[in-house]
Amino acid sequence: MKEKSCNKLEESKVARDAVDSSSLEQPLLRVRGLCKYFPIFNKGIMRKQIGIVKAADGISFDLMPGETLGIVGESGSGKTTVGRTILRALDPTDGEVSFFCDNDIIDLATVPRKRLKKLRTKMQMIFQDPFSSLNPRMTVRDIVAEPLIIHKMAKGKELEDKVTEMLIKVGLQPEHKMRYPHAFSGGQRQRIGIARALIMKPLLVVADEAVSALDVSVQAQVINLMKDLQQDLGLTYIFIAHDLSVVKHICDKVAVMYAGKIVELAKTEQLFKDPKHPYTRALLRAVPSPDPNIKMEFGLEGEVADPGKLPPGCAFHPRCRECFDKCKSEIPELLQLKKGGLLSCHINSENKKEK
């Protein structure tokens, strides 16, 4: 099954590459310098701020319509924060999120809450946990129909028809409408979540570890479903995962995050063939791990950096095998590579000097 999906993906990717280079299209999403800092409070009676967690720090990327961006990184690297800040589930501390919709560019980072409601029809989220993301007290029909009801997009028979159609699209049976989520398996529940997210035909979908909680065999099914729906509905995905092998099958480009920052961003093929950042390389070494329980085993020594207490210089340097003096004092910048892609590592500048 996986093999088949790979071939299919290859085709669509080639097609998209062509589009990319031929036209200077307006990106659907343009993120610049996006930051989300969480204050840390002490536990006493008087709440006093004692620090700050830079969960996302200076995130920038472009996303073309129809493209899929993967965001990978270890637990706590800030992937969820980035996803939620883009969708304004969290208010960003700083930065700019230009969203191109209805021939208009809207800055999602600053758009007032009132206007945000309408924009919700254009951007949606698929959640990681298929158990907690569905209200256990609502029937499948109520869950999937809710977006249409909130935005008054359909009523009566039209509503029922749309729900039925969507359920069929995600591979569920219309008879399941009156059931409650507890009667479904994890994979089926995730399909319900996908149906809810896509029923309004959004432009942008953030899938936050949408398959991480699922069995490996079910993972492939759900990924294939998401790919089919992408082509069907012309969706643009931000696909968050902590596992590079998942990303490989669905993403056009991949951003690798470490401690709230993007350390490398490249076309999927290029990233897998020629990873530049030592962290990316470490992640790639860990890919063949067949045991889904060992998520954090990246062949890396040391602990994941705590975004609340970052080391000076490059946040990755205490764990880096190629670390040298400069890494301990200077924070590397995210720079464009000649071959395409972005990299934030001093090796990059060293190489440049040599050349």
């Binding site: 709440r47 939620r84 969708l87 589930a89 945000l116 409601k117 309408k118 919700r120 029809t121 949606q124 989220m125 959640f127 990681q128 946990d129 907690s132 993301s133 569905l134 209200n135 256990p136 007290r137 029937t139 809710e146 977006p147 909130i150 935005h151 009156m178 059931r179 409650y180 507890h182 009667a183 979540g193 809810r196």
Partner: protein, 371 residues
């Protein structure tokens, strides 16, 4: 579990599951019937009563309960009593005579207005008196549970007292429900400083010693207030003390559920705050709210009775279980006329069954219970 029940289970809502589990709990199910029964009787107290609460009969003070008998020629009947007064102690003794008073179901008795509106004169069980006899010296009296020192019917007063004692709990609960939901809701949904302040206030209220507070309030209550005002005041006092527990439940549940993915999902779908709160968050713990409320009703009932018993709460001519128990302050009276203690039996019965009901509801509503 057979395959069939398994498939139907997937179509059952939360409430249907709770009901199934609840009725497996026999004691709780029985308590439910008792509680419902008590409230029905309290609701239609004028009909269930034999007389009016202020009916006095100086000729039959401290009449003991009259056992209801049955035979085929007379139907239901009680024996008439004859009073002898001990010439030394003035202690009144009643002896049964052979004369019978017939009893009829749904017979005509004292006329009354149901809920103060609907004129009516039928009662559940009355002594057979002709309409002309009622209210005159010829009327024969039927004291099912005996009479008190003014010859008032204890059974009638128990039922009338049930209306006051049981309703005061419900009304106090309703007020504390509103207070608890609103204040707890604000605390949990808004969070931050607001939450902090509300929590401290709750702790202060919770730390107040109850009895001195009640006494202070009773002392502050003007003596010339009408019984209705006093009743209202007692209710407010009880509910002001009682909302904190619910507010805590609501707050902690909101804090917990607010972070659930489905709440985040709803807000990302564009749902308004009120939709999120009322459609997604509150339904997640209505069962908890109901349980918390049920568990608090007995406390409210006990609060009213103890206040009234101590003379701090309701006062005659209002009839409540606590007011009736004031007659038991006198140990000698209790020793000689033990039926005066009957309100106690009803208090215990209603408090116990409400507690069992609450327990059963909690077990049924808790999704993690073992069964």
């Amino acid at each position: 579990m057979s395959k069939k029940t398994k498939t139907t289970a997937s179509y059952l809502s939360q409430w249907q599951l709770i009901r199934l589990r609840f009725f497996k709990h026999k004691l709780a199910a029985a308590s439910l019937f008792i509680v419902v029964g008590l409230y029905v009787v309290a609701g239609f107290s004028e009909f269930f009563a034999t007389y009016s609460t202020d009916m006095m009969n100086i000729n039959q003070q401290y009449n003991p309960p009259m056992p209801v008998k049955f035979n085929f020629s007379d139907g239901l009947y009680v024996n008439k009593v004859k009073r002898n007064i001990d010439p030394v102690s003035f202690h009144k003794e009643y002896t049964e005579t052979d004369e019978k008073i017939g009893l009829t179901f749904f017979g005509k008795g004292h006329s009354y207005k149901l809920w103060g509106v609907i004129p009516c004169s039928r009662h559940l069980l009355v002594a057979t008196n002709t309409t002309e006899e009622i209210g005159t010296d010829k009327e024969t009296f039927f004291y099912l549970f005996g009479s008190d020192k003014y010859g008032r019917d204890i059974y009638t007063r128990l039922i009338a007292g049930a209306r006051v004692s049981l309703s005061i709990g419900l009304i106090a609960i309703a007020i504390s429900f509103v207070l608890g939901i609103v204040i707890g809701g604000i605390s949990g949904y808004v969070g931050g400083k607001t939450d902090l302040i509300i929590q401290r206030i709750i702790e202060i209220i919770g730390g107040f010693p109850k009895l001195p507070l009640w006494m202070a309030i009773a002392a502050a209550m003007p003596q010339d207030w009408s019984p209705l005002t006093v009743y209202f005041c007692i209710t407010v006092v009880l509910s002001l003390m009682g909302w904190t527990g619910l507010a805590r439940t609501v707050r902690s549940k909101l804090l917990q559920l607010r972070e659930e993915d489905y709440a985040v999902a709803a807000s990302l779908l564009g749902a308004s705050h009120s939709r999120i709160i009322f459609k997604h968050l509150i339904p997640g713990f209505t069962s908890h709210i109901i349980v918390t409320l049920t568990m608090r009703v007995p406390g409210m009932i006990l609060g009213e009775t103890s206040l009234s018993f101590l003379g701090l709460g309701l006062r005659p001519p209002v009839v409540s279980w606590g007011v009736m128990l004031q007659d038991c302050m006198n140990m000698q009276a209790v020793a000689l006329y033990p039926w005066l203690l009957l309100p106690l039996f009803f208090i215990v019965a209603s408090v116990l069954s409400l507690n069992f009901l609450g327990d059963g509801l909690r077990d049924a509503a808790d999704p993690y219970s073992a069964k």
